[in-house]
Symmetry: C2
Subunit: 220 residues, 2 copies
Amino acid sequence: MRSEAAILLSGGMDSGVLLAWATIRYERIHALSFDYGSKHAARELEQAASLARTYSASLIKIHLPFIQSLFSSSLLISGGEIPEGPYQKETISSTVVPFRNGIFLAIAVGYAENSGIPTVLIASHSGDHPIYPDCRKTFTAAMSAASRLGTFTRVEILAPFSSLNKREIAQKGIEMGFDFSRTWSCYRGGDLHCGTCATCLERKYALRFEEGLDPTRYLE
Amino acid sequence: MRSEAAILLSGGMDSGVLLAWATIRYERIHALSFDYGSKHAARELEQAASLARTYSASLIKIHLPFIQSLFSSSLLISGGEIPEGPYQKETISSTVVPFRNGIFLAIAVGYAENSGIPTVLIASHSGDHPIYPDCRKTFTAAMSAASRLGTFTRVEILAPFSSLNKREIAQKGIEMGFDFSRTWSCYRGGDLHCGTCATCLERKYALRFEEGLDPTRYLE
């Protein structure tokens, strides 16, 4: 078993399963959660905190007020409406927060170097690759190279799920007895998952909603 | 002349000269200044704002409160004493803010992508290379690769001074009529440059203090 890892924990299903996966492989986990002014921040961060407690990870909350004030995205409270319907390049590009994973990873690397943690984990997966450039394997590899070169302790970045799609991550979670009802996906961030935005549709597919296996309560 | 560039502007002499250099080459400059809780933040940011005005750059101030609360460094208000005397690996390592340039660059890349700016400039130079890993050419190149791969607009990072040392940057500034009295270096951040910390000694050498050419007022 390896010693310590930092993990980007959003409170969504992918990073939730990654946390469960990591607790089997690392003695201590430091979960980093970012509040960057997204519409679903409250829901996500609540789930992240609860997951960190369950898996005995320490939780570090990092507030990034500049994203909300300087960046444009429908994902942000300061932005427009979240588009309806499935992921499509044209509509979903409004939900992009520019270089979000780059910013989160750079901060996590700094935190890891500061705390003597050798590894940073991110739950990037193959389903996001076509849409978000900072979710691709090539990006994570380049960012890991920058991290190793730019730190005294040669911090590495790993994306253990980068060859899996969201449904395969869900399958992995089921095998580990992961409780998906304790994760949040919906970009709208209401009391319940809306069930109709791109990320809800993707969640439904991954968790086999049609087969009655999805434990999530949706508005519709 | 190229269109637009973002620049990391600290208010120190290297990024000040880079700003002067960039205004000759780019039509519009967006200067990003970070307040991360350093002891010399007030002095540095004041000079950054004044330089941005002089060179007609727009100034974007970004507050990063998490660095002060989560990271340990004698450079920070939350940290110990700034070491006395010249740069040496043993003493100066206490002034490291882990992966600082990585974090600043990642944020600048996000800002650049958000605003349609193709290029981010950083004033890394060869003098810092042996001490700070995130000032090296290899790091900047890897970070630029991550930026190009991780953004829709393929934002590039350039370090035009990476082959120069601080004295050569000073020479370049003198040739451009740059006013060095309007920059701040001292890590202690008093009313005057202390003249005895590593960065003051380096400044004195670069600006040829011994030859009476340095316009800075030092305490000693």
